[in-house]
Symmetry: C2
């Protein structure tokens, strides 16, 4: 029987690639889609479409955390800061850092994994292009993985539950290439922080995505 895994799925390029990576590696993944109040629902819709395309079951949950209300990724009244590509994530923690977000998402993933007997929680953290997000760094990931093993039934009884971040050492261009190789449906992914009809092209996420496709030498099929 296939090993089970939980994949944190936001509907963007990275998590979509991770979902298909998990399947290729022989996992039977359950996707976890979390609405934590992000600026728009487009990425939730994209995540559902991706899970369907992968034939993966998914859970969708909502979180309303009052202390995050003023965060750039949540409060639509705040205009997202635009910085030049060269400075994204290389100049201290960016304003689009959501305090504790990945910690919460991983904790929810661990709870789901421990409930369904999955042995891995997999997410699309990316330490190269987001080098200043503390919750994407390899040392955070391994510390959280250790906590997950120690703090769960799966871990305590069988020593097997861990957090994997297979994209951790890849840049966006390598992720685009991997996603294409895995035949991940990149055309239905949504990376833009804004929720307009088309990706804005200006936010950190759009710029990094564009750079990745350009460097991979392919057109973005979602454009």
């Amino acid at each position: 029987m296939a090993k089970r895994a939980v994949v944190l799925l936001s509907g963007g390029l990275d998590s979509t690639t991770v979902l298909f990576w998990a399947q290729r590696r022989g996992y039977r993944p359950t996707a976890l889609i979390v609405d934590y109040g992000q600026r728009h629902k487009r990425e939730i819709k994209a995540a559902r479409r991706v899970a369907k395309a992968a034939g993966a079951p998914w859970h969708e949950i909502s979180l309303s955390l009052p202390w995050l209300r003023d965060n750039y990724l949540i409060n639509t009244k705040k205009k997202l800061p635009h910085v030049s590509l060269a400075r994204i994530g290389k100049n201290g923690i960016p304003p689009t850092y959501v305090p504790g977000r990945n910690t919460i998402l991983l904790a929810l993933g661990v709870s789901l994994a421990d409930s369904i007997g999955a042995e891995a929680v997999i997410y699309g953290a990316n330490a190269l292009d987001y080098s200043d997000y503390p919750d994407c760094r390899p040392d955070f990931i391994s510390a959280f993985s250790r906590a997950a093993r120690l703090g769960t039934r799966q871990g305590a009884e069988q020593g097997r539950i861990r957090v994997l971040a297979p994209l951790s050492r890849l840049d966006k261009s390598a992720i685009v290439k991997l996603g294409r190789k895995l035949k991940a449906p990149l055309h239905i992914t949504w990376s833009c922080y804004e929720g307009d009809a088309r990706p804005c092209g200006c936010c950190d996420s759009c710029q990094l995505r564009a750079k990745g496709f350009a460097a991979a030498g392919v057109a973005d099929p979602a454009q």
Copy 2:
């Protein structure tokens, strides 16, 4: 200015004692009350009363996690298993273990702490009376604390955010004595897993509480 802290507050004996411990230690605590679908709302009400009694601000949030629906602490259609006092938490992971619950609560606490500039997340984990709950064990707590430091703005920029579990090495009788010494309002706490008019007296939590008060040689003021 007082150091800030987040205290996970369930409204029971342990977390109430922890809240008053934090104040005595010079912290200015914000309480975090989480409704994760527990069998009844009595403990949420108790938690609010305790926060008010401490003069502590609090956040209250709700979580609905479909994969926990069948847990003993959540599904009121399931009859709580009653085991003898001597066997509570000493015989493998108890059925009242909620997969990943403390991991999630701590992650939420870390998010709040990182948002308000608090340097500690404090909770009432208790490794003696609940020795088989993996998410109460000291090695889990220190692993999670390390992840919290590595994965947050506070931790990354100032190296100061940590998880404290001051009751970790105390038994219930020592907790009762500590709570009384701190003048914590133990009379308004609620520990019972059931939500009847009076504590059931039979569930694990009631039995451990009764043992603690008996061993401390004082009457339970909530009875």
